[in-house]
């Protein structure tokens, strides 16, 4: 039998081992290998061979001592040894260098995670480059009234029919909160999509049980994600058993037609359940399939490979004109565009967004900052390393005298650089791992360390890009110190004369100024972000939602003639609970996007037919409960309500609507008639403007109508912070009046503050970075002081001998550094003012960059820099002058 030992390891050994002994070594290894194959089997024998072979490398006399490899290896070992000893000897210096690098690496890595997550949205869909979402802008009288992602159910099918480039489409609409009943158990459903039969084959949401093609093709079908289905599982039931079971939602029965895997975190479409689109078509007598007026639908289209989306955008101009006839069909002029699927999360400023969006600019800004911090950390590293060049100069000169060539000095410098950077990198990964939970809370994003190995950049796995980039950077950053070190004139150094050139000092000063400019920017930035966020959280909103508990309405109770009386009775019952101040009901709440009416006009201006307003349905207690001020007329009263929705004809408007309808002021509007929904309504009052939505956006026209509804929210105002007894009593009362409903509640404040989640995220990240940047900038300053002091040791000693006082020395030395800081501040403040003012313009309501903020940032930086300067110069100047002079 032919036996072959591991080829690779044999060749490596052949290269490295003593030429004279190689034949006997190879022979012996082979013989042992043959014996092992027979007694232990091939696998074990190979392992033994490798161990045996590698063991030969332990012995110097068995290695090839003349080969270049051997010499290089010896040198490398020596370099590591020397670097390690050097680090151990200069513990403070090593620590400072490490802290700088670790701070830089850690913040970059943390941020990279965030960037990776945000930029990975919808990456998992095959064919993602060819998928687009159809976007719809709506114009009336030349004004843009809606810039949305929702459009009419006919758009997808018609585009696919009309445009040969469009291969397929899928359409869907989002559903709010619902309750699913199986047997006698009720389960809450937060997120669902009503999606057509193409949905599961169009996107990549893998199925677990059932056929993707047919899961959603019939009315009354429902698809669960695994984690949602899990709640329904009875003991001994598997996911597969659920398929084919019947459940009811909103009193309609559904068949669970399939189970799919959970939706990934990085999908902009998030849902627990899919309901078949046909259900909606059936319930709407076909309108959900053929309407050109009902705009609640999201469309995604897939184009043929290589199609230019601009071409379709062009065709969509004619498309809008052809089907909507300049506003005759839907009340507005309709324009359609394509939005690439992968822009849906990061580059979407549309209304009625289907998923949560993030600001792509901020994500890339963060990425820029993370690279920037890395750069600064490395600049410091270079500064600190070269600042110690004089100490290393003797060693290098000795090496040179012994015949070291420039290349070897370079390699040594690289090895040192590599050693400390690797240590820093390992510590940083450890820190990232430790800080993971904290950072996840800070950003409230599902960040994972695994992003580091699952992300791909330019089609290469991130670890490869990272290691490659890291090594490249190390080569670059070890280049400069090695040039400085390689340039010494040996005789000079050995004679004891050595200094760093003044050009190097100038370069370093420049770098430090640059760092401090960046720090000024970050400090002013994080103060301003903080001010803006707290301004948004504390501004008077024109309404008061403090201590308001919100119950989900009794959506399982049928609307009938007793509904209004029943609600009023519940109201009275709840008011008897101590601590309850008032109760009201409304279709929407603050912070929620309102529905719109697109064809409304005032009787006074009959020629302007198409106006658009948001609308909200409220009961007669709502306006008063939330302290919304009336500026004219009256608020709703009980007599405005009624059981027949077609007989209700009073409404309120907000101040922001006045101009649009042509009313001169609030008083002028009271008693006027508005025409919409084919009826005439009377404006009975005008409410003062309040912030229904966040301060990101301005105040839009709102129309209020006195309606009740089973799916309305029940808001309960409490006199103080809610306590468990009150909540329990409220729940009991609700349960008494609305038996069989799922009882759940939340706080109005929380819902409203959710709008500022991304702002708070930016705030926390900005603070973290500012902290890191200050540390790194101070290290940079420290490095600069170190090197200047090195040059001036003798000068200081001579001055001291001649009788200079400590204070004189400090002020003459410190001045130089303070000038640097001052220059940085002078450059940094105007830049930060401009950049931040620009950023604040993104908010409809915002603070301005205060001069006090600028002053605080400037003074703060000067103080901490001065401390650093005093600390370090103090140390040098307190040295005994004899120490520094004795070598002359």
């Amino acid at each position: 039998m032919e036996v072959k030992p591991p080829y690779l390891i044999r060749n490596i050994l052949k290269k490295l081992s003593n030429k004279d002994l190689w034949e006997s070594i190879e022979g012996d290894l082979y013989e042992l290998y043959c014996m092992d194959v027979e007694s232990l089997g091939k696998k074990k024998a190979r392992k033994n061979y490798i161990i045996n072979a590698l063991a030969f490398l332990r012995f110097r006399r068995l290695r090839n001592q003349n080969s270049k490899t051997q010499i290089t290896m010896d040198l490398f070992i020596n370099y590591f040894k020397v670097s390690w000893r050097d680090l151990k000897r200069h513990k403070l210096f090593g620590a400072i260098n490490l802290i700088g690098l670790v701070a830089g690496f850690t913040s970059s890595l943390l941020l990279l995670q965030y960037v990776f997550f945000e930029t990975s949205f919808d990456d998992f869909h095959e064919n993602k480059e060819n998928i687009y979402r159809v976007i719809n802008d709506r114009y009336q009288n030349g004004n843009l009234v809606q810039h949305g992602t929702i459009t009419y159910p006919t758009i997808g099918p018609t585009m696919t029919k009309d445009f040969p480039e469009v291969e397929s489409y899928t359409r869907m609409t989002v559903g709010g909160r619902r309750y699913i009943k199986r047997d006698q158990n009720i389960y809450m459903l937060e997120n669902f999509l009503t999606a057509d039969e193409h949905f599961l084959t169009f996107f990549n949401f893998p199925t677990a049980h059932g056929e993707a093609e047919t899961m959603l093709d019939e009315p009354g079908e429902m698809v669960f994600t695994k984690s949602y289905a899990k709640r329904f599982l009875k003991t001994d039931e598997t996911y597969a058993d659920l398929v084919g079971q019947t459940v009811t939602m909103s009193r309609t029965s559904f068949i669970i037609s399939g189970i799919i895997e959970d939706v990934p975190d990085n999908s902009h479409l998030q849902f627990d359940v899919l309901v078949s689109y046909e259900t909606m078509v059936q319930n709407s007598n076909g309108h959900a399939s053929t309407s050109w007026e009902w705009s609640d639908f999201y469309h995604y289209i897939k184009v043929k490979d290589g199609t230019d989306p601009a071409l379709i955008d062009e065709k969509l101009v004619a498309f809008g004109k052809k089907y909507f006839k300049e506003g005759e069909v839907s009340g507005g002029e309709e324009k359609f565009y394509l939005q690439p699927l992968q822009d849906a999360h990061l580059y979407s400023d549309y209304e009625y967004e289907i998923g949560e969006t993030a600001n792509g600019e901020i994500v890339w800004l963060m990425f820029g900052i993370s690279l920037f911090i890395l750069l600064i950390a490395w600049i410091n590293f270079i500064n600190l390393s070269t600042s110690r060049a004089s100490e290393r100069a003797k060693e290098i000169s000795l090496r040179k005298t012994l015949g070291a060539v420039r290349q070897q000095i370079l390699i040594q410098s690289f090895t040192e650089c590599f050693l400390i950077n690797i240590i820093a990198l390992i510590i940083s990964f450890g820190l990232v791992w430790m800080l993971q939970d904290l950072f996840r809370n800070l950003t409230s994003l599902p960040l994972k360390m695994s992003f580091f190995w699952t992300t791909e950049i330019w089609n290469l796995p991130f670890p490869i890009v990272f290691i490659g980039g890291f090594l490249l950077c190390l080569v670059l950053i070890s280049f400069y110190p090695s040039i400085v070190l390689g340039r010494f004139k040996i005789q000079e150094v050995i004679k004891g004369r050595f200094g760093v050139g003044s050009d190097a000092i100038l370069l370093r000063k420049g770098l430090v100024i640059f760092q401090f400019v960046a720090t000024v920017l970050l400090v002013v930035g994080s103060i301003t972000v903080y001010q803006q966020v707290s301004y948004m959280q504390n501004k008077d909103l024109g309404m008061n939602m403090e201590n308001t508990l919100v119950l989900y309405g009794p959506s399982l109770t049928r609307w009938d003639s007793t509904y209004i009386d029943n609600f009023e009775e519940f109201k009275q019952d709840a008011l008897r609970i101590s601590g309850v101040q008032s109760v009201s009901s409304s279709s929407r709440l603050f912070s929620q996007q309102l529905g719109r009416i697109f064809q409304i006009h005032s009787a006074r201006n009959p020629e302007v037919k198409n106006l658009t307003t948001n609308h909200m349905q409220v009961d007669h207690s709502f306006i008063e409960q939330f302290d919304i001020e009336m500026v004219a007329g009256r608020s709703f009263e009980e007599r405005d309500h009624g059981l027949d929705p077609n007989l209700i004809n009073t409404c309120l408007i907000n101040e922001a609507s006045l101009k649009m309808y042509g009313f001169e002021n609030a008083l002028d509007a009271v008693g006027e008639k508005l025409i919409y929904w084919g009826r005439t309504w009377e404006v009975v009052g005008v409410v003062k403007n309040f912030h229904q939505r966040s301060l990101h956006s301005g105040i839009e026209p709102i129309l209020f109508m006195p309606y009740y509804g089973t799916d309305h929210y029940y808001s309960i105002k409490l006199s103080e912070k809610p306590n468990p007894n009150t909540i329990l009593a409220i729940q009991e009362s609700f349960g008494k009046f609305y038996p069989g409903n799922y009882i759940d509640y939340f706080y109005m404040d929380d819902l409203y503050q959710n709008q500022y989640q991304e702002d708070r995220r930016v705030q926390s990240i900005a603070q973290l970075f500012t902290f890191m940047a200050i540390i790194i900038a101070l290290l940079g300053l420290y490095g600069l002081i170190l090197i200047t002091m090195n040059r001036k040791t003798k000068e200081i000693a001579v001055r001291k001998v001649l009788g200079a006082r400590l204070v004189d020395l400090l002020s003459s030395l410190g001045k130089e550094f303070l000038i640097i800081i001052a220059i940085a501040i002078v450059i940094g403040l105007p830049i930060s003012y401009l950049l931040l003012s620009n950023w604040l313009d993104n908010y409809a309501y915002h603070v301005s960059v205060e001069w006090t903020t600028l002053l605080v940032a400037a003074i703060g930086l000067i103080v901490i820099s001065s401390l650093t300067i005093i600390f370090q110069t103090g140390k040098v100047t307190s040295n005994n002058p004899a120490e520094s002079l004795k070598y002359e």
Binding site: L21, E23, S24, I25, E26, G27, D28, L29, Y30, E31, L32, C34, N52, A55, F56, R58, F59, R61, L62
Partner: protein
């Protein structure tokens, strides 16, 4: 010139080379050490000790004819030199002398 002191492993190796006489090469020496001294030793350590002994002049080596079981490689055969023999004898007589110096009462047993 290196010292002529014999380490423990060196002495064992030298003795085993002598005992194996015409077949003293790496694998055989390794097997013999493991069997006689009842200890594990890697082939690389065997090579290392043999080289050390050769540097000290206690061993000499030559190549055998190529053998089939070694994949056509020649064995490096070792043989004890006169210096080696002297060193072994010195070591043995030193030990003998030391043994003889032990008074009978020294050991309890």
């Amino acid at each position: 010139m290196k010292g002529t002191h014999l380490g423990e492993l060196e002495e064992i190796a030298l003795l085993i080379v002598a005992s194996l006489f015409d077949n003293a090469y790496g694998v055989a020496i390794k097997a013999e050490i493991e069997q006689q001294a009842n200890r594990k030793i890697t082939i690389s350590s065997v090579h290392n000790v043999l080289q050390r002994l050769q540097e000290k002049g206690f061993l000499e080596s030559r190549f055998s004819e190529p053998t089939k079981e070694r994949g056509g490689k020649r064995k490096l055969l070792f043989r004890v030199t006169t210096e080696g023999q002297n060193a072994l004898e010195n070591s043995k007589s030193l030990r003998q002398k030391l043994w003889d110096n032990i008074p009978n009462v020294a050991f309890n047993r």
